[in-house]
């Protein structure tokens, strides 16, 4: 029974989501890390919300970046370990399609989860509720871009000893524009000035990455699997 | 070389370390590349020697 491309995409997406929810602890770990990291900053710097508000966008974004990095390792690793990845590559369905499904599922359970949890963290850092909409939208765009950058990095570092460190070394320099514009957008939202410039840039980065990264990630996988 | 030259208009403690670091970087490049090439030739010679002794 041959399966069309769209059905294949949905199948892989469904599989990824099922596997993720089968181990809910794995879903919660990056979120808990996110919460813990954001707690460290007030404890280390200042307990006054008014003082925290100034650094809140940066802290939020750095914590989101680091939590996302933690979860990227699981994108391809378990499938590579038990041979499923090779089977998927050989399946005759385009590998790019499968990569898009996997990365999309990954973003849904990590990036989107971060976006949903972010108001809690924002309150802890003194960010006013008026800024929440922009904050969450910018985080949504940013984490999606990051999932794709991470897919490239994860594809290149599957199965390497200390692959995690190398993954961070690869992804973080590429993610700095994200950090700069995402934090700027949130910062402007807090101070009430126009967020349009930063948001447009963030959206442009997202579109650019989502367009080109699938091919780069597929190429990375082919290099690793060959 | 006048004193004026060495003092670089008062900026000597920035200008000369600058050139010193540049010289160090260029020298390192030369030295490291030389070592790398020597090591590569040595490894190649050893691999060839092993291959020819195995062939016998």
């Amino acid at each position: 029974m041959t399966v069309g491309a769209w059905e294949a995409f949905l199948l892989v997406l469904h599989r990824e989501l099922c596997l993720s929810f089968r181990r809910p602890e794995q879903l919660f770990q990056p979120l808990v890390f996110f919460l813990i990291v954001t707690t460290l900053f007030p404890l280390g710097l200042s307990l006054q919300l008014s003082a925290l508000r100034d650094i809140a966008p940066g802290v939020l974004w750095v914590a989101a970046l680091l939590s996302s990095l933690l979860s990227l390792d699981s994108l391809f690793k378990s499938d590579a370990d038990d041979g499923t990845l090779e089977q998927l590559a050989l399946s005759g369905q385009g590998l790019t399609l499968i990569v898009v499904a996997k990365t999309g599922a990954h973003w849904l359970v990590t990036g989107l989860a971060l976006v949903i949890v972010s108001p809690i963290v924002a309150i802890a850092l003194g960010i006013p509720t008026s800024a929440f909409a922009i904050m969450m939208l910018s985080l949504a765009l940013g984490t999606l871009t990051l999932s794709w950058l991470g897919a490239i990095g994860a594809g290149l570092t599957i199965g390497l000893r200390r692959g995690n460190v190398l993954l961070s070394l690869i992804v973080l320099p590429l993610a700095t524009p994200l950090l700069i514009f995402g934090a700027a957008a949130t910062d402007r939202a807090i101070s009430g000035t126009s967020t349009a410039g930063a948001m447009y840039f963030l959206a442009a980065l997202c579109v650019f990455t989502c367009t080109l990264a699938p091919w780069a990630a597929t190429a990375a996988l082919r290099i690793t699997l060959e | 070389m006048t004193n004026e030259f060495w003092s670089m208009g008062g900026y000597a403690r920035y200008v000369w370390p600058c050139y010193g670091i540049a010289g160090a970087v260029l020298a390192w490049n030369l030295w490291a590349a030389g070592r790398y090439l020597a090591a590569a030739k040595l490894r190649a010679a050893r691999a060839l020697a092993m291959a020819s002794s195995e062939a016998r």
Binding site: L156, G163, L169 | A22, A33
Partner: protein
């Protein structure tokens, strides 16, 4: 003409060319840098605003330009190697990476020393400086990725992909002073229209730029010889080649 191009894909040919060119490139680099240093340090007049401190330009700018050029060379060689599966491309990329990284470091450190008297600070989170720092991180990432693999060919190909992905940073570094409000000076040489510098200051700078380029070429030749040897050890031509 194309036969010359095809020859470049042959490891023994490339090894021979590199071995032959090396000394000439070093000599030419020494001449260019010699003139540049003498003219730049002793002959060029002091700057109206910066005084003698501007002389740091003669190592800072060539280092910075080269850090970008070398990354582009590395990315181009990587692309060639990935697309057409020409292993010599991997050798060129692997050889260029440490040289380019050292130039990026040079640009950052000399820039820092220049920034202190001019801007009052050793560092600023300014678009030009930040993107150059990211360039250094990218270099380190490419080199680390290559060495992390046990299979050298796989390591080459992974590093090549990363180099190509990271090349997007090169135009960002160059245009950062145009696109954003930057502390760093705008483009004076590589721009449309005449350069904004008087001749007595410009010629030593161009000469140092050329000298650094030739120096890169010379060191590249040495490293390229080593990289080719490392990838071709059992081949028959190696026996003759390493006798030199």
């Amino acid at each position: 003409m194309w036969t010359w191009f095809y020859k470049l894909a042959s490891p023994p040919y490339v090894y021979g060319v590199a071995a032959a060119l090396r000394l000439w490139l070093f000599g030419a680099a020494a001449l260019a840098m010699g003139y540049g240093l003498i003219a730049g340090l002793a002959i060029a007049p002091p700057d109206y605003q910066q005084g003698e401190a501007f002389r740091m330009i003669y190592v800072h700018v060539p280092g910075a330009i080269l850090s970008l050029t070398v990354y582009t060379v590395m990315a181009a060689a990587s692309a060639v190697a990935l697309i057409w599966r020409i292993k010599v491309g991997h050798a060129v990329a692997a050889a260029s990476a440490p040289i380019g990284a050292s130039f990026a470091l040079l640009a950052l450190v000399t820039g820092s020393l220049w920034g202190k008297p001019m801007w009052g600070t050793y560092w600023a989170w300014d678009p030009r400086l930040t993107s150059e720092l990211i360039l250094l991180f990218l270099y380190v990432g490419v080199m680390s990725l290559r060495s992390a693999f046990e299979d050298p060919l796989r390591g080459d190909r992974a590093a090549a992909l990363l180099a190509v992905v990271g090349v997007v940073n090169v135009p960002i570094v160059h245009f950062s002073v145009v696109w954003w409000n930057s502390l760093h000076q705008g483009a004076t040489i590589v721009r449309i229209g005449a350069p904004k510098m008087p001749g007595s200051m410009l010629w030593p700078l161009l000469s140092m730029w050329l000298g650094f380029m030739l120096f890169f070429g010379a060191v590249l030749c040495m490293r390229l010889q080593a990289e080719v040897l490392n990838r071709e050890r059992q081949a028959s031509w190696v026996r003759e080649a390493i006798k030199s």
